[in-house]
């Protein structure tokens, strides 16, 4: 029992990341009709927003410490961050410690700008082209973005820790009456799950309860008619692209403390997120969220030793296996609408 609860918990944070990325993918697909293979790269850039802010906050000047020596025997140069000069040592250290949550504020405008530039500069030229062309150009874009990040930050993962207060883990088992250590879960992953829930809620509320959201939903249902009513739907869709980029970016920022960001983390999530979108149903936002959590939890279960003892290697194929079964029984995915991608 405790093992099952543990794996459900485990699936939640992975599912959160899948759901956030898939949500953006579906938004873009539903509004613009573009299959965006560069979406994983946006997630990765989000994580590097956290790295960048951390770098900016730790920008330092060097002070020579005559009492200590470096590896060549010369006096040691100690780095003092400018932030500590500005705000004092303790406050400066706290600001650096909280760099990941601060990066949320930093990343939103950055990601929206990147998203809008991507859409206006490149992707809009491919609206009328076949899906295969769109996939090729966005995939190429993903590789370009990935190589730029590698050029700037190197190939190794860069540690980006969560604030001190969120390190360590919560002993869930004791709260539920199990033995100590039976179900432990890191604080930051719980924060990630809560954060994802808030973002998903916010996106749905935005689409459901604002005029802008209403127009976008109408455009998703029938773009031509909305255009005929004199509404500039293209501009709204561009903004949606920026928003979808911001959602992927936020998912990346908050993911940075879970796994040290590296340049190919986007690709690791991209393929799975596509499976999530297809399983959820192309163009269905609730479907994407549902499928994200479902597949995340299934993946966790499949890597349990007890299950792997019966079906070795199941952890690597479970997602695809389930995707095949769902698509065979429900060809439009869990919550797919009729008419989407069927022309």
């Amino acid at each position: 029992m405790d093992a099952i609860i543990l794996q459900i918990l485990n699936g939640l944070d992975k599912g959160s990341a899948y759901a956030l990325i898939a949500l953006g993918l579906t938004l873009i697909f539903g509004t613009l009709g573009v299959v965006n293979f560069a979406h994983g790269a946006l997630f990765m850039i989000g994580a590097f927003c956290a790295v960048t802010l951390n770098r900016l906050l730790t920008l330092s000047h060097q002070v020579v410490d005559e009492t200590r020596t470096d590896f060549l025997g010369n006096p040691l140069k100690v780095d003092i961050p400018y932030v500590q000069d500005l705000f004092g040592e303790a406050a400066g250290a706290t600001i650096i410690d909280w760099s990941v949550p601060l990066a949320i504020l930093f990343s939103i405008p950055v990601m929206i700008v990147i998203g809008v530039v991507m859409e206006r500069g490149l992707i809009k030229h491919f609206y009328k082209r076949p899906h295969a062309d769109q996939i090729l150009v966005t995939f190429g874009l993903a590789i370009v973005l990935q190589e730029i990040i590698k050029q700037l930050f190197g190939a190794n993962p860069i540690p980006t820790p969560a604030p001190e207060v969120f390190r360590g883990s919560l002993d869930f088992g004791v709260m539920l009456g199990f033995d100590p250590n039976a179900i432990i879960y890191p604080y930051w992953r719980l924060v990630y799950f809560a954060f994802a829930a808030i973002i998903i809620g916010a996106v749905f509320a935005f689409l459901q309860f604002t005029t802008f959201g209403m127009v976008v939903r109408a455009g998703m249902a029938d773009r031509e008619t909305v255009g005929l009513l004199g509404i500039n739907i293209d501009r709204r869709f561009t903004i949606m692209f920026g928003l979808a980029a911001a959602v992927a970016g936020l998912a990346g920022v908050m993911y940075a403390p879970i796994n040290s960001p590296n340049y190919h983390m986007g690709m690791d999530f991209l393929v799975l997120s596509f499976v999530v979108v297809v399983v959820g149903g192309m163009g269905s936002l609730p479907g994407a969220v549902l499928a994200g959590f479902l597949l995340g939890i299934l993946e966790s279960f499949a890597s349990m030793n007890e299950i792997k003892a019966i079906l070795p290697g199941i952890d690597q194929i479970i997602i695809y296996l389930v995707a095949i079964i769902i698509l065979l029984t429900r060809p439009r995915g869990l919550m797919g609408r009729k008419g989407v991608m069927e022309d």
């Binding site: 200590r68 590896f71 190197g154 796994n259 983390m265």
Partner: protein, 448 residues
Amino acid sequence: MSKTTLSRRGLLRTGAVAGAGVALPTIFTASSARAFTNEPTGGSVTLGFNVPQTGPYADEGADELRAYELAVEHLNGGGDGGMLSTFSSKALDGTGIMGKKVEYVTGDTQTKSDAARASAKSMIEKDGAIMITGGSSSGVAVAVQGLCQEAGVIFMAGLTHSNDTTGKDKKANGFRHFFNAYMSGAALAPVLAKAYGGDRKAYHLTADYTWGWTQEESIKAATEALGWETIETVKTPLAQTDFSSYIAPVLNSGADVLVLNHYGGNMVNSLTNAVQFGLREKQVNGKNFEIVVPLFSRLMARGAGENIKGILGSTNWHWSLQDDGSKAFVKSFGTKYGFPPSQAAHTCYVQTLLYADAVQRAGSFDPCAVAEALEGFEFDGLGNGPTLYRAEDHQCFKDVLVVRGKENPTSEFDLLEVVEITPRGQVEYAPDHPMFAGGALGSCNPGA
């Protein structure tokens, strides 16, 4: 009845293609004027540096390349000479190799076996490389070693830690200076038993490929010999990035030690996840829970940040060593590049010097003569104390470092502290040891 439609043009075309095809693979059927593959005829000799320049190990590859460039500079008489002055063999004098100026070409392994073989092949066939060296993965090392054996050039392995490289996949043309998984186990186990006691229950997470398997086998055997019990060994996919679902069951399994047989990005992520789950603050079986990373790399450890503090592991070499060879190398490398070299850089630099020295002593670039000069070669002054290149399997035997993640690093390079220098005698094994059984060196291939 079949109908033949052979035209004059068709016949000519077929003939031309067939002729070109026969003439193409020169490395296997090279002209008889040369005694061996790529025999240098002019005033220079070309070495092929095959390192990961793209892909996840690109940073390690870049450090290897820096070391190679430094070695070439020193061989040609430039710079401060580095380890040439501390090397026990005095055959090299800074005038290149056998009076020929050393030049080099580079290839990109991408840490993929097929790409690594293609780049090595291109350097041998197109650029005339007489020796191939480098690499940052055992899968790649085994693949390139096989290719060099067929092509008739010497392969001086870079960073490769799997037992198989000089075990079941050993080749007469291949040589490894780097230590291996067996040696890590033999060096690490006594330190672990001393630090954590003889009554421990271990849980292994292992990268699912040749290196991971041999390391798990080695560490398991070495720790069980000292009284530890192995509760469970779990293979993790190489492409895994989030290890939480593998880490989560560890605490409840009754184990009180987690052994991470992971390298590179895998190591960074699994260690980070394990620390996030609070494993190191837990008490199991009345003891502090401990994590062990048997193969440490400083370059990779940087990615794990604070999480490596206090964690034990082993390494081939570390820049803080105080012998003359290490100090000379750190000084030339640090002066040229501004930071200390990694263990990958060290083994690559040393391999280049060892090759050049063997050619010089043999008086020939012939791979068979070079191999003979390396076999059974005893040397010192290259940073690991007295070392033997064993003739039976082309593995170097030398001291092994047991290291611990440093609690109070003074810089971003100062991440590991040396806990113990395990003497060579303790990590030696018989050439027919079961963990290394199954292959044969065969005979050296001069190609041509």
